[in-house]
Subunit: 87 residues, 2 copies
DNA sequence: CTGTATTTGTTCGTATGTATT
DNA sequence: AAATACATACGAACAAATACA
């Protein structure tokens, strides 16, 4: 399903709620390892919140090493892979 | 004329102002039916704004059916023409 | 067929201002 | 004051389709 909604009157801030939804989707396998998460714009539309709030949620997940972000590419499921040797 | 300027301190957001300028150019006939609008890059240079802002303005005009956009071709004056039959 | 240029599409990074709680 | 939230705006990078020489 894709119909979760956030509760603007809820106990937790929206970005915490969104992080929880995304965390659950990752744990459940709905978003698989190295899959890209929906873009910030898509999530903002899906949940009817601002991009700013989406970014805060992403930040939470990044700090948990559940996702990593590649600039201009997207945010992906999993810990950030090791860099290949430069040489 | 082609020298309109947007007012960064104005009451309306820049993308609303730009949409108004382009709307006027269409209504006046400066941009004729099925003419391509200047590209996003040209408009961004002409008005000294970001492409992001240009795209927001385009979105406004698209919603008004004043223009339609063909990916990788441009944005054209008028409502989107009917598709020819696929067959 | 092979590049090159043009143009829109997509995505994240960042900053500022305002309002609300 | 601090945290949360939204809107606006600019920047940067690259993808992909199209057109043309």
């Amino acid at each position: 399903m894709a119909g979760e909604r956030l509760n603007p009157y809820g106990h937790d801030p929206l970005y915490v709620q969104l992080a929880a939804v995304l965390r659950q989707r990752i744990k459940s396998g709905e978003y698989g390892h190295l899959d890209p998460l929906p873009s910030e714009d898509r999530l903002k539309d899906e949940f009817g919140i601002s991009r700013d709030t989406v970014r805060r949620a992403m930040e939470v997940l990044r700090k948990e090493n559940l996702v990593f972000t590649v600039p201009h590419r997207g945010t992906f499921v999993g810990p950030r892979p090791d860099e290949p040797p430069t040489d």
